[in-house]
Symmetry: C2
């Protein structure tokens, strides 16, 4: 079927297009990304170079280019680079005539496909067929099949090898470049400037169908290429199989040897066998991760597009962050923000909890960075980085935006005042603990994070004696347009949550694991009396309440006194279209206009307010929200669902789930700077909207609960959940909710459907009328 | 002798000039001001009108013009207005030729004199001699003698009466204008728009020397004028005596009748007798207020110029504020700022304590406004207005500056974050109590202020449990370039001072006046346990200390981490010369560059740090200070003296004492807006520099102390002080300090000169070698 923007799907397992639109090369480069959580290879043409944002972004290669303040993941040399000359004319997609074009992202197996029939000024059409995948069987490998078919006898020259002139957002990371051949393999080895990370990219090539009449090696300008000349007869198909292998010295102490060995092995195994091994991994992933939508093929394809990108963005193999743009580009530095815990993690928590555990352990590993940040700012405990790379050092610079009106740098306080990042991490680790029921995990990792976050908050909080309450002063909430506010409601509730959980953990340890507790307290440098502060704060922390009349919750002290104006009116006040709306003197600073709605964001995390309160606040805040964040629409969809506002919920669901797929050319470039890439938190938000929203899924202690509200056009919504090592499969239709518990699950699962309680034993299937 | 800028003095009791510089009419209009604390009449020519900033500014006439946000004192109709036509040509000072000119401000008796020999295109020279004074014997009266002498026979037309088209900074205050004649007097009656204040200006005229050949009344365009035609023969002198009387309905319920009666009385009394009565008041003022400088006539005249302006700016007759520009113009709204307590009051405290008492009682009367402000901002107790008119309502608008780069209003927080105003008032009332030793005053006024300020601070302060200390968060100190800072050192120490004094007062009342205490607590709505909070804060408030190594005190948390750059370097970064340097994004916000130095300001108030600490901090902060405030140089002079930096002290003394006198045309107009006027706090600062600085005067409980450091060129420094109803006269020479106690003083006075203790009995004179 045809989707929007000339996109198509057949069965919801692929997205394809039949036209090449040269205007959209930035967007399509991101959307057609392949990846595996170790690397991401943009959906660009292999014939292109850095100027068209070709990139192979590799995790765990954080480095800062000389003269830059941005520590980011490296794009590595492009081992798929292949240039094609037909009768001396070069194929690029931008010159000559494209007679037929087909590009597909196969969501089922992460397969990029392209067919391109192209005619130059001086030759008859040639057809290029490309397929490639980033292997889940060997994360260091990208395999590509590149086939050329000629309609008439023709001479073709192929330059294929490695392009070492990589696209890099913020300066040159590589202080050295060494290209070499070994046993028919070619390789580029680079070393980064800041940390001296050695990166090796090796390419192996197999040729089938036609034998080259001439071979030469070409080295120029950081390219190492094989020059191959073929004479094709009409109907001939030439197949090139390229195996690109990437290792860095952060992966292996001998990255060069490992890369050469893997490339040799790939050549020996062959393309089809490599692909079969890769596909088996995707079968396992989709078995638990797929969400099926009955009755709406467009939503089905959109949903899988988001789940696919959420999956490949995530370094499931390691304890590393999920980048805010995944591995689709260097924007946001391949680093984690609070989105990781609040938007990306839920999907993994309830489908692949071992991935969620990795993410929590990543935060455990970065405790030293969080402790240092707290100390540097005059606090103690763990103040997590706003922008967190490998070590958890703060990567966010003090000066982020430049005032377009004056050219002066603006000192924003994302890194210093947006303290909710720390309790957000406790929130996520608590959810992991709830899902896994894993006390050992808590002893080994969770407790230390929770205690250190509590200690940080103790050092950050103020007591107001006259009001006999604790306050958090000078905050920046998720709504980043309002810096320097007090008692931001989202932060207050999350902080209380963090203290409550720290106390629960502490008390259970005091009873069950007293020696481990003492050892941990000694390590942190506190004694048991610290919990008196925690308890006091739990008892006396200021939590803004819904107004008894209006049911409105004030986002922060004094918010309702700000100018009440619409986002459109504010936009009309801009002196420059790219003006920043927030601190220190943007148009929204003194207005009741939000980047995203903190009160709704709070509802999205904590199920503590009744639907009428959620509805009243939705109706107040929604028209005042500018949605300057890609996180905003999915939260609106989720809360609208909970508040019974079904039309709004569906509208925001569609907006949130198509931020990347449909928003062609919007916000991908600004002032010559690349701002594209996949919004991974929005992808995670799709899972939230479907499962927490439309299926109404909540966890209440040991019990799962569903309050489904199926959108009108859908006939069914099916997905799987993992809870305490049980895999449950849920299918919701307009009038029933079916539950089936996989054979081999360890225990019966208690489920509430609305107010009906059911217990589903392993191997059992239950249907409940709703 | 000749001073700078073509100014002269003969004996230090006058400032005069012999050239009329039309460029300087704004500055000289302020400098040659006459006044008496009820009204101020600018040193402009009576021939001029509103476009040359003629103004008679009258206290207790606060009103807001329609469409304005500025409540300011009214300029009233000009009853001295006199236009002179010689052979049809009009004298203005700007046209024709000025053959001789002499303008003098007589400091001894507040006499403005002008002699002006002027020749038009068609006539021989005429000489005008003007003398006028604002009577201290009747504050509502200005008397003027206007004499015309002709060198040849000539016809002269004089238009004299009242010009009702007043200059007003921020809009038209008068909703009505009524001119009338009664019994030979002429009058203009106006009513203000906001509060309906009726203002009556009556003029009485006496003519001597020549009889007019023609008389007519002329009413046009809000002028009511007598048209008088004279035929002068060569050598004739025509004398006009004008008596301008001003009353408002805030002065008297029948202002018109009172003004008419006073004008009749003035005519009956006559000019010379009125002048004699007026001069007798100045004799009494100077008897206690004069400071004599031996050996430097320039400094002598400058000193008296400042003491003169400090005196006439002050409404000694009433409980009204001292305007930041006195009554010299409407700039700063005729309202009091913190300068009143810290710069203007000390001079009165130690010379005319009854004036200081009025100022404290003014703050008592404005407690309702201070309570309202605290309540409006979510606090309780008394948060005094940053800009305080009659009622103590906050007159400072939320949006003060306009960003010259964007045209957007800036939301500064002078009114909401600059909380030191409240403890500053406690500081001043405590000094008054110390000087007067007047416990009844404390019971009637001081205690209530002190308790309410303490309560305000309780509601504003935060306790940091982790550091076990109280903090004041989000402040703006005297250094207004740094808003939104924590634990500003000036504010912290003054807050502690306020709590300490509140506790002393409370405890003495508890012992000596328990019933009054209970009544006061009931009035405020607190009970005795409130003092537990006060004591706790005194014990635990955070007071930044000098670094043990460097002896530096950090102005606020994190100041030393700001960019270390010079004021000149910052100036070079300006995109527009009139850019505001401070909040939210001015060039100084993130720099260690100060408008004025809060640490030095603290030293100026509290004698608690040793000279080496003062010196180290002076040397650190002084080069980083931009002196964007007229308060800054006098504090630098004072602290440099205490720190033993004599050259710097003298340099800043000269700068501070000549801000108005020598700074011709600087900062008096900006973008077409009038910014002139007398810097009354700087005038008060001259007393501080001389008496607290060079004479080293301090009060230690019941004893006075002197540590004199006479500038090198001075042979003596003499002044009087009042302490506990004793008048002491002090003369410092390079090697002695002479003390004499007036006959009739009530008690011996204990004095420390350096470390030598002397007791001076009434009528006794003592000399101490220093």
């Amino acid at each position: 079927m045809e989707l929007k923007n000339n996109l198509f799907t057949d069965d919801g397992w692929q997205i394809y297009e039949r036209q090449f639109d040269p205007e959209q090369f930035v967007t399509t480069g991101s959307n057609y990304l392949i990846g595996n959580g170790y690397l991401g290879y943009r959906g660009t043409f292999v014939e292109w170079e850095a100027d068209r944002f070709v990139g192979c972004n590799v995790t765990d290669t954080w480095d800062t280019a000389e003269g830059s303040e941005w520590r980011e993941l490296c794009n590595v040399p492009n081992g798929l680079f292949t240039q094609l000359f037909v009768e001396g004319e070069q194929l690029s997609g931008f010159e000559g005539e494209t007679l037929a074009f087909y590009r597909q992202l196969g969501l089922r197996y992460g397969l990029y496909e392209r067919e391109h029939t192209w005619q130059g000024a001086h030759h008859k059409p040639v057809k290029i067929s490309v397929e490639r995948f980033a292997s889940y069987d060997n994360l260091h490998l990208i395999a590509m099949r590149y086939q050329i078919t000629a309609e008439q006898d023709t001479e073709i020259v192929v330059l294929t090898g490695i392009d070492g002139r990589v696209w890099s957002l913020n300066g040159e990371h590589f202080k050295s470049y060494r290209a070499f051949e070994e046993d028919g393999l070619i390789a580029v080895e680079t070393v980064t400037g800041e940390f001296g990370i050695q990166i090796d990219v090796v390419e192996g090539l197999a040729i089938e169908g036609v034998t080259p009449v001439d071979r030469a090696m070409v080295e120029r300008d950081k390219h190492i290429l094989r020059g191959l000349t073929f004479r094709l007869e009409a109907g001939d198909t030439l197949s090139l199989f390229k195996y690109m292998v990437v290792y860095s010295s952060n992966d292996d102490p001998a990255p060069c040897e490992r890369a050469l060995a893997d490339a040799r092995a790939a050549l020996a195994t062959g393309y089809e066998a490599l692909k079969a091994a890769h596909m088996a991994h995707w079968d396992r992933i989709w078995n638990i991760s797929d969400i099926e939508i009955g009755g709406n093929l467009e939503v089905q394809a959109i949903t899988r597009f988001n789940l696919y990108h959420a999956t490949i963005a995530t370094p499931a193999h390691a304890k590393l962050p999920i980048g805010a743009r995944g591995l689709s580009c260097q924007v946001y530095q391949g680093a984690a923000f609070w989105d990781q815990e609040t938007f990306n993690m839920p999907m993994f928590l309830y489908t692949r909890p071992e991935v969620a555990r990795n993410l929590v352990e990543y935060r455990y590993d970065t405790l030293p960075g969080a402790r240092k940040k707290a100390r540097d700012l005059g606090y103690y405990g763990a103040f997590y980085a706003w922008t967190s790379g490998k070590t958890g050092e703060e990567l966010f610079p003090d000066y982020f935006f430049t005032d377009v009106l004056t050219g002066r740098k603006l000192h924003n306080h994302f890194n210093s005042w947006q303290i909710h990042i720390s309790p957000d991490i406790v929130y996520a680790l608590w959810l992991y603990y709830e899902v896994a029921g894993d006390w050992e995990f808590m002893l080994d990792y969770g407790a230390e994070i929770a205690f250190e976050v509590a200690q940080f908050l103790v050092s950050r909080i103020h007591f107001k004696k006259d009001k006999h309450r604790y306050e958090l002063i000078r905050l920046l909430g998720p709504d980043e347009y309002h810096e320097n506010v007090d008692n931001n409601v989202y932060t207050m509730y999350l902080a209380k949550f963090a203290f409550e959980k720290a106390l629960i953990i502490f008390r259970r340890m005091a009873t069950e694991n007293p020696e481990q507790l003492d050892a941990l307290l000694a390590k942190i440098g506190i004694d048991r009396s610290a919990t008196e502060d925690w308890q006091d704060i739990v008892d006396l922390i200021y939590l803004p309440q819904p107004d008894p009349e209006t049911k409105l919750i004030e986002q922060f002290d004094g918010f309702f006194q700000l100018e009440d104006v619409t986002p459109a009116e504010l936009r009309a006040r801009l002196l420059h279209p790219e003006e920043y709306w927030g601190w220190p003197n943007g148009v929204a600073v003194e207005a009741q206009v939000l980047k995203q709605a903190d009160v709704l964001q709070l509802f999205a995390l904590l199920d503590i307010f009744p639907p009428d309160v959620m509805r009243a606040n939705y109706e107040y805040y929604e028209p005042r929200t500018e949605h300057g964040s890609s996180l905003s629409p999915s939260v609106h969809a989720l809360i609208a669902t909970k508040a019974g506002l079904h039309d709004a919920a569906y509208r925001y669901f569609m907006e949130a789930s198509t931020i990347d797929l449909y928003n062609m050319s919007k916000k991908v470039m600004s002032g010559g700077s690349f701002l594209g890439g996949i919004h991974t938190a929005a992808c995670g938000g799709v899972w939230l909207m479907l499962v927490r929203g439309f299926a109404g899924f909540e966890v209440h202690g040991d019990r799962l609960r569903f309050n489904p509200v199926l959108p009108a056009t859908w006939t069914s919504l099916s997905f799987a959940l993992t809870f305490r090592y049980n895999v449950l499969r849920i299918t919701i239709t307009p009038d029933t909710l079916q539950l089936s518990s996989d054979e081999g699950n360890p225990a019966p699962v208690h489920v509430l459907v609305g107010e009906q309680e059911v217990v589903v034993a392993p191997g059992q299937r239950v249907a409940v009328t709703i």
